[in-house]
Amino acid sequence: MRLWFGKWTAIAKESVDRAAIFAKFLCLLHVTNTYIFSPTLVYGPSMLPTLNLTGDVVLSEFISHRLGKVGPGDVVLIQSPENPRKTITKRIVAMEGEVVSFLVDPSRSEKSRTVVVPKGHVWIQGDNIYASKDSRNFGPVPYGLIQGKVCCRVWPIDCFGTL
């Protein structure tokens, strides 16, 4: 009887230890995926020809935007201002205080508008201006919505490298 009880407590102790190691691993995974870097699947037509229509896996890092080091020309992951649960991939065209000139509807007319980006906001545009819903539709977005910066593409293998 005592032997059986002793064996049971040993099994319980070992499973608690294993669960603790697993919990620590999950915490490490969360911190890496939120604060350091993470692979992300991106898809859609708005960043052609830089990113493919059917989907690419890119490596995105989360350190630059916290230090304020993202700038014009960077491809960033940003939370959509119209739907907070959706993350979109666009290129930063202008930072706060800069003047942006853009074509309002490039497939239909030559009309262009000029806008000054307000403080704390960025102007984002997709590389494919004919099929992209970006700052030309919903205006400049606050810097706080930026989630990370895309640094290189890892899949498909033949397109491996920086964008």
């Binding site: 620590k24 911190v31 119209e82 704390g120 810097y143």
Partner: protein, 178 residues
């Protein structure tokens, strides 16, 4: 006696506790101090003194709401300021996407766009909120305030209440006339 293996164990333990603490404060809840009087009398009802950190209210901010971004009228939320991403503000949501809000000191009404919300402080005379910077995207919200944890005599739930009746009346009148 401080040996290298003792130091290594201390480093390992503090690293592990740091990871666990960061994960819990990101995914579940954290406790933050509230500065300023823009949410009086709900939070910080008294003028802050030189001992600011000890007399300020400390609140529990829950992060489980960030999986769905489902907020409602009357929630007190923590969000990144739209004009300066490093600062965080605490205000109450008074209108959600699709609502009409009357612009102060004019006869205009603004419809809150999809994915945005209107935030206001409970103390309108001393609050920098959506009346100055307009509706904010819901993606800027970083947590919802549920309880006051300090000082001990003010421990309790922060209640969610609807906006003042006067504002709602203006919104309904405009919809009828349209």
């Amino acid at each position: 006696m401080v040996t290298p293996s003792f130091l290594w164990n201390v480093c390992k333990s503090s690293f592990t506790f740091g990871l666990i603490g960061l994960t819990i404060s990101d995914r579940f809840a954290s406790i933050v101090p509230v500065r300023g009087l823009s949410m009086s009398p709900t939070l910080n009802p008294h003028e802050s003194t030189s001992l600011g950190l000890f007399t300020d209210d400390h609140v529990l901010v829950e992060k489980r709401c960030l999986t769905n971004y489902k907020f409602s009228h009357g929630d007190v939320v923590v969000f990144c300021s739209p004009s300066s991403y490093k600062e965080k503000h605490i205000k109450r949501i008074t209108a959600m996407a699709g609502d009409w809000i009357s612009v102060p000191y004019s006869y205009d009404a603004v419809k809150i766009p999809e994915g945005h919300c209107w935030v206001e402080g409970d103390n309108p005379t001393n609050s920098l909120d959506s009346r100055s910077f307009g509706p904010i995207p819901v993606g800027l919200i970083r947590g919802r305030v549920t309880h006051i944890m300090w000082p001990p005599q003010r421990v309790g739930k922060v209640d969610t209440r609807f906006p003042k009746d006067g504002e709602c009346l203006v919104c309904y009148c405009i919809i009828i006339f349209l």
